[in-house]
């Protein structure tokens, strides 16, 4: 047995040297450029290292990060609650109900989030007397609440589509099997359809959270001091470009972390589907 292995090892010719093809040169050059960029960035940040700046703005950045995460967290959760009735209306057989939900989803997915935020923050100011009469003005006066309101409506539209698509992806036979076993519609939904639908919906949900984190940067324009807002404030006071670089690093870290968490969860919950 051992002689056979030895013979195979002896007879196997050495691997030919990998030629420097155009692809390989291009790869080396491009990767070299990225490495240079990375080194340049580290050198720049080290050269521009300014403990005073850091001490002054680190607390601001942390509070900005907190604002960003709170904003996204609250609007994702509220949006998820709102998306359930919207998705249910979308799936309804009544054309008027389905049409209303379709219009809602189409509007919020078809227009920029920035325009929606402006419409709510600046636009609702036009109805100040009416809102005051209703006692809602204290809510819509604050940029923070307006941002949450706009983001909730926006993400609810996207999440309703994700939910609808996921539920529609479960074959009809599952519903029929549920009712054949004597389960009520709600029981079938809860115990049979949703567990299968959520496997499908996990990745789109993860993407939606990432999109919201990225999209939440726009609240800086309506004077909410989230991470982006703090960055703009720091930049406008110091004219030091590293403020933006740090924000970029933080955003990138959050998004990558989330992406990996979603990947990990997906691997965990699709074990039974792998062969």
């Amino acid at each position: 047995m051992s002689t056979a292995i030895d013979a195979a090892r002896v007879e196997k010719p050495p691997a030919p040297p990998r030629p420097w093809t155009g692809e390989r040169i291009a790869g080396a050059v491009l990767l070299g450029l990225w490495i240079l960029c990375g080194i340049g960035l580290v050198v720049y940040l080290a050269a521009a290292w300014n403990p005073e700046l850091f001490d002054t703005y680190l607390p601001y950045y942390l509070s900005g990060l907190g604002v960003t995460l709170t904003l996204v967290g609250v609007s994702i959760v509220l949006g998820a609650l709102l998306s359930v009735p919207v998705a249910w209306m979308r799936l309804s057989r009544n054309p008027i109900v389905a049409g209303i939900a379709y219009g809602y989803v189409y509007f919020f997915r078809g227009t920029p989030l920035l325009a929606q935020t402006f419409l709510i923050y600046y636009g609702l100011g036009s109805f100040r007397p009416e809102l005051q009469a209703l006692g809602l003005w204290t809510f819509f006066r604050e940029a923070w609440y307006c941002a949450i309101f706009a983001f909730t409506l926006n993400t609810a539209a996207y999440q309703a589509e994700i939910l609808r698509g996921a539920i529609a992806s479960v074959p009809r036979g599952q519903w029929e099997a549920g009712s054949a076993l004597g389960l009520s519609k709600l029981q079938t939904l809860w115990k049979i359809v949703l567990p299968q639908a959520l496997v499908v919906a996990l990745r789109p949900y993860g993407n939606e959270i990432i999109l919201m984190i990225k999209g939440s940067a726009i609240v800086a324009i309506i004077t909410v001091y989230d991470l982006m807002g703090e960055t703009r404030r720091a930049y406008s006071r110091t004219f030091d470009f590293q403020t933006y670089i740090w924000a970029a690093v933080i955003y990138l870290a959050i998004v990558e972390l989330l992406r990996n968490v979603v990947d990990w969860i997906e691997r965990r919950i699709t074990v039974h589907l792998k062969r």
């Binding site: 790869g27 920029p112 419409l119 036009s126 924000a247």
Partner: protein, 237 residues
């Protein structure tokens, strides 16, 4: 609502002409970004499916960075970063010179980079849908690598990638709204100016939203027409 109609009329009294110029800027920006993003996205996708690990890694770094950063931040980094960079280069030659980066170009680059990193993923999954036999068939009839790509793979690739790309186009149209933050007079900025001057914020921002909706609807009709034509071409062969 006589008032609103006057405000939305064409001419010195109304704001329709200003908003129309904003629509023009938005459409121009999106149209100028599209070829840039498509081309860059295609090459990044080619890099990411290459046999060469270094090239793949370089492509993945590109997508990771530009898909992970908020579009607004990318825009600011390009706008201010390019300003500082060019300034320093120019200062090197003439110390007193002051340069201002065109916000249209900055917007085009930033949106193009973001678009291309998403487009590269669309192209990559389209590449995966094309069987290896197509390449082998191309080589066996004597086509070169480039010819196989251009004549055999690309026509199929575009058909597969079209739905994903049309989705990205709609996202691009919406993302153009961000350039209003760096001072480009797009729809949203013009609407904002009108809102501030006339104090009719709701009216003008609602009009801006409706214009974006109309652009999206018109685009979906256009995309539908392109898809039908591409599908016909595919079956005719």
């Amino acid at each position: 609502m006589q008032d609103a109609w006057t405000l939305l009329s064409w001419g010195p009294e109304g704001w329709l002409d200003e908003i129309a110029s904003g629509v023009q800027v938005t459409i121009l920006l999106a149209l100028a970004t599209l070829p840039l993003g498509l081309l860059a996205g295609f090459f990044v996708a080619v890099a990411k499916r290459s046999d060469e690990p270094m090239l793949r890694l370089a492509g993945s770094i590109y997508t990771t960075i530009f898909r992970g950063l908020p579009e607004l931040l990318t825009l600011f980094v390009v706008f201010y970063g390019a300003q500082i960079g060019v300034q320093q280069v120019v200062r090197f030659f003439s110390p007193d010179a002051y340069v201002e980066i065109n916000s249209f170009v900055a917007g085009m680059i930033a949106l193009g980079v973001v678009f291309s990193s998403y487009a590269s993923e669309v192209f990559l999954s389209a590449f995966k849908a094309i069987p290896q036999g197509q390449y082998e068939g191309g080589y066996s009839v004597g086509l070169s690598k480039g010819q196989t790509m251009r004549l055999v793979v690309l026509p199929q690739l575009i058909r597969i990638a079209l739905p994903g790309l049309s989705n990205l186009w709609l996202i691009l149209l919406k993302d153009t709204a961000l350039v209003s933050a760096i001072g480009l007079s797009d729809i949203l900025r013009q609407a904002g100016i009108a809102a501030r001057v006339t104090k009719e914020a709701f009216l003008f921002f609602a009009v801006a939203c409706l214009i974006y909706l109309v652009l999206a609807i018109v685009s979906s009709f256009g995309i539908g027409a392109i898809e039908r034509r591409v599908a016909q071409k595919g079956t005719a062969r």
